[in-house]
Symmetry: C2
Subunit: 317 residues, 2 copies
């Protein structure tokens, strides 16, 4: 007789998001803040428009003023800069892709760091990769973390993967985590973030597998990357946590290779992990989109609280 | 009998570069400056290594100390940051592509603006696109322009396309220029730069043709973009200047469509314009690589002169 796997807890993203959304409602009510988020839709992407509606509804529940502005893509840069300069706006969100590639990354850097709720401008990316937790060394200015990798971190915290009795930067010590996807927007930042928190991360993409970690005794101040001579068939059975983020409906995580008692998290829009993972996993989080939306609002509230610091944070000019 | 086309002047890039290189030699000698450029090679690209040799030789002639550092690509970010902090280094050059895509653009933003001889960090790109000629409004700090589009501008100046009797920002007024290529690194910045100087620019890429200009009376403060309902066959015969930058050995500019007396400039590494263009053109510049190398050194000397300003120009942290 096979050993009985104890029951898998399936945690919907909404459940983890709810805790943060309740805090947001409380904090926004308490401060009587009129927090305003402006989002720009400059493509004809139906999915983006749907996502805008989700954000709108979620913001309404939190007491956040949400405004969707549809603009021609050639007007987007000027519109972003006008919003940077408009004191009634506290956060700016852009639905990408607009032009795609380097032009979009240029636009991400046109958003003022003081309004960049997505955390995609260079300042926040740089601080995240380099394990710098505050802006320009100021203890009163915590650096922002891009929403999607931040949501994955919060999900791991919600699953008690973080050991909060350890110092910050070591709370994932001893944990082996596989992240399937190494895109510049989510997979690579997430691997770096988890390694900066002490994990050994296998970062998998279509070409190769890399190891992100801070050395055996956390002796590095930030993650380093090295080649991995193992194959997916070797790393999945030794991973405590597996996180998937492949933006394709055709990709499926090979469940038979997973360790018994694994924590399985999908942060892709596509369903990368079949439900049968519950036969192996201790915890399964099938989608984290709602947590991402909550983190967006959390970043927004933080930036709202930075608004009167009149701190010069510029990317250009 | 066909009208006789007066003879075409073929101007090699070296001839235009020489003027600037002589000025550099003079200025570097005069200040007794020990100007040092460090370049990073983190790929196994033979062409990049060859280009490094060209830069090295050119720097040697100008009296610039040139050091090539070969690093593992995973060490590149840390190496760039160490060079940012090393006062003996005045300029940093990276041979791209390294990782490609967004990761490379992230690395471009890791180079301190005070050492970014290529002018590829967000600060300089932003200022160039937005027609902002000084850094943070300081008249003593001229903003840098990325080397390749800057080289194209200097070639146009060398061909007397700029009317220097007009105010800055209007010196290309009345000129129609076609730029074939709209990449984020060269074609798009060049189109914007020329439009910011007053030209009407047709920006051609594989998908469409766009118009970059500042309106009929230069009433805009910076270029704007709009769709063009004309085809290549219609814009080439009305273009005073045609600039090609297609990075493919297969592309050839259709010479029969050019206006008699056109100025034809190729800034691609590939030979986009056949020599028979001399039958139509007034001026033909077959390659501008040497001018780009000269502009790199010119940017370097400018940054060298900024070094003691101790001006805070950061992209992150």
């Amino acid at each position: 007789m096979e050993p009985q796997q104890s029951e898998c807890k399936v945690i919907p993203g909404t459940k983890i998001a709810d805790k943060f959304l309740k805090e947001l409602v409380r904090d926004i009510k308490a401060t009587n803040a009129k927090v305003k988020l402006v989002s720009f839709l400059a493509n004809n992407d139906f999915a983006a428009e749907q996502y805008a509606n989700v954000t709108k509804n979620s913001c309404a529940k939190s007491g956040i003023i949400f405004e969707l502005r549809k603009v021609d893509r050639e007007q987007l840069e000027d519109s972003i800069i006008a919003a940077n300069e408009d004191d009634s706006i506290h956060g700016i969100l852009v639905y990408y892709p607009v032009f795609g590639g380097g032009h979009d990354q240029y636009l991400q850097n046109c958003v003022s760091p003081l309004k960049d709720v997505e955390g995609l401008c260079h300042l926040y990316r740089f601080n995240m990769y380099r394990n710098i937790r505050h802006i320009h060394g100021r203890k009163d200015l915590k650096s922002l973390i891009p929403c999607t990798p931040l949501a994955a971190v919060k999900v791991l915290e919600g699953c008690d993967v973080y050991d909060t009795s350890l110092p910050i930067g070591e709370q994932l010590k001893g944990k082996t985590i596989t992240v399937v996807n190494r895109s510049e927007v989510v997979g690579r930042p997430l691997a770096a973030l988890l390694a900066n928190d002490g994990a050994k991360v296998y970062s998998v993409d279509i070409n190769d597998i890399l190891i992100f970690d801070r050395g055996p005794n956390l002796e590095l101040t930030k993650y380093a990357v090295r080649d991995c001579n193992k194959k997916l068939e070797e790393i999945l059975p030794i991973s405590d946590v597996v996180i998937t983020g492949v933006p394709s409906p055709n990709y499926r995580l090979p469940i038979d290779l997973l360790k018994d008692g694994v924590i399985a998290i999908n942060f892709a829009c596509a369903k990368n992990i079949d439900d049968e993972v519950t036969k192996k996993a201790k915890i399964f989080v099938p989608a984290i989109g709602k947590v991402t939306t909550a983190m967006l609002q959390r970043n927004l509230l933080r930036l709202y609280n930075y608004r009167d610091l009149n701190y010069k944070l510029v990317n250009g000019a």
